[in-house]
């Protein structure tokens, strides 16, 4: 059995672990454009900020590939994929045939059509190479402009701020719109401003002005110009589905997979940020580029490629991000649409930088946001993940920030903590 995995992120690693649970001998080859062993992609902001050194980036020990019998083609781009012949052709001229293939190609930065965006000194921030490139210039640079308002924009801005740069964010509407409502976003904004980050809100970027050498020198916006040594374009990521599309696989926004992580071709699986899969809460096909889902999909895809048939439960949106010392978490549906029966409970303590938002629908917790006080987040998650009933009494306790295992349905508690002993053979 020959397995080929395209990509070398967390989904790829998990797939290797999944395959090896069932198949100790089949050949596995990982082909990845990136020249590094697997690293914790979110760690690049920690690395850029100087919080961790390069050694701490690696997601698995050095011996991982060897221990799991994986052949590596690193720094190699896959040019095309032929599902009929079951072969992949690489840009370096090599080609490989497979029995089972996994697309773990991840996401790619969404590009804004902005004049000057291709100039020198304009960066993206999704790969280790991006971080390495920035690290070469942060010491000399003084001013940075970050275009974008999401996770990547904020984390890169924070990292540059920690590198003592003067950082301004150009924000079209408001920060972290997808996760935080105005109140939560405002709280976060205040916190970051107090730490020294500058914001240009409601500003549309118009052009990145390049100097004679083709280097970025300023960012023109609807609210005036910002001079910049470094510009980071961070408008989010979208699924990298180019190969799949070219190979004729079903692709919407991402590569469409069923509950077994198979694509429209039964021998090709996909996992991670490149996919579009059923969401745990909504039951709809969604693109959900988060780490835990990528790992889990990879694991299940690996098992299923190796002959298993286990259905993936779907991803639960969740993010835990620390913004310059302020921890935040959002799980499930956090910005519910109007008029669909969602109820929202909000507790705000501006002075203490604490915020709690609960989204409830049909007597169940559909999602929550926590800022500041995050210690009990896991038990909030239990209510979302397992859909426990939220009675009036429980709702009061959740509102007070006191979720507890004792609020779970009794049968679930017993099953979790004290399952009946399975019958033991009599010795």
């Amino acid at each position: 059995m020959q397995y080929i995995i395209i990509g070398n992120g967390v989904a790829a690693v998990a797939a290797v672990e999944g395959i090896r649970e069932k198949d100790r001998t089949g050949a596995i080859r990982i082909i990845s454009e990136e020249p590094y062993p697997t690293y914790g992609r979110p760690l690049i902001s920690y690395y850029l900020a100087g919080k961790i050194d390069r050694d701490r980036l690696w997601y698995r020990p050095e011996s991982f590939y060897k221990d799991h019998g994986v052949e590596l083609s690193l720094g190699v781009r896959v040019a095309s994929l032929d599902p009929k012949a079951r072969t992949v052709a690489c840009a370096d001229g090599s080609s490989y045939s497979y029995d089972k293939l996994l697309l773990a190609t991840g996401g790619r930065p969404t590009e804004i059509d902005l004049p000057g965006a291709g100039g020198e000194g304009v960066y993206r921030f999704t790969t280790l190479s991006d971080a390495e490139a920035l690290l070469k210039v942060v010491d000399k640079a003084k001013k940075a402009v970050v275009v974008g308002a999401g996770l990547i924009a904020l984390k890169s801005a924070e990292a540059l701020l920690m590198r003592k740069l003067d950082v301004t964010m150009v924000v079209r509407s408001r920060i972290m719109r997808n996760y935080f409502d105005e109140e939560a976003g405002g709280l976060l904004l205040k916190h970051l401003e107090a730490k020294g980050l500058k914001f240009l809100q409601g500003a549309t970027p118009k052009e990145i002005t390049l100097d004679q050498k083709g280097r970025a020198s300023k960012v023109e916006t609807s609210q005036g110009d910002l001079s910049a040594d470094i510009v980071i374009m961070a408008a989010g990521v979208s699924p990298e589905a180019t190969l799949a599309k070219a190979a004729g696989l079903a692709v919407n926004r991402g590569v469409v997979v069923d509950e077994f992580l198979a694509t429209s071709d039964p021998d090709i699986y996909a996992a991670g940020d490149c996919t579009e899969a059923t969401d745990m809460i909504t039951g709809e096909l969604e693109v959900l580029p988060i780490w835990p889902k990528a790992y889990n999909q990879g694991l299940y895809a690996g098992r299923n490629m190796a002959g298993g048939k286990t259905a993936h439960p779907g991803g639960l949106p969740m993010n835990s991000i620390n913004y310059y010392g302020l921890p935040t978490m959002s799980v499930g549906i956090v910005n519910p649409p109007e008029g669909q029966g969602f109820e929202v409970e909000r507790m705000v303590d501006e002075e203490g930088e604490r915020y709690r938002k609960l989204v409830i629908k049909n007597g169940r917790l559909a999602g929550f946001v926590l800022i500041g006080d995050i210690e009990k987040s896991g038990l909030f998650t239990s209510f979302v993940k397992f859909g426990f009933p939220v009675t009036e009494d429980i709702r009061e306790k959740l509102k007070r920030g006191e979720p507890s295992v004792l609020l779970w349905p009794e049968e679930f508690f017993e099953e979790t903590w004290n399952p009946r002993p399975t019958a033991q053979p009599i010795a």
């Binding site: 760690l43 210690e375 004792l406």
Partner: protein, 146 residues
Amino acid sequence: MKRVYIDRHFCIGCGLCELACLTVHSRSKDLAIAYTVERPQGLMSFKKVFRDGSMCASTGCRHCDEPACVEACIAGALTKDPATGRTVYDPEQCVGCMSCLMACPFGAISKSPLEDKIVKCDRCVELDMPACVQACPNRALMYEER
């Protein structure tokens, strides 16, 4: 694989499990020093005792077969040890993103009070029986193969 099980009908909420946990994971291995000196320095029990009216339960890491924390860990600090079945935590590798804290629906992970790290049950790797189970005066905690 042996795991710690909880009979909430007989957990009396005394908290001795927390103290035992604190002690075995302290530098001094001495309860009084662990509690009064090392705790203010950041030492923390891996057990959590919930109390609500007549109900109590002392919970900790279940060392799940497919742990949500391992899935969520971006730094490779949480892994499954196939040999022992433990969910192993490497504080050196942890960057304190708290994704595991959020992802674990059993509330088994805590934030370290003084540093950007988590704390989590190691199932008392050096002991035949975890300290919390040894300390339980009412056999509400059991360490068994089920």
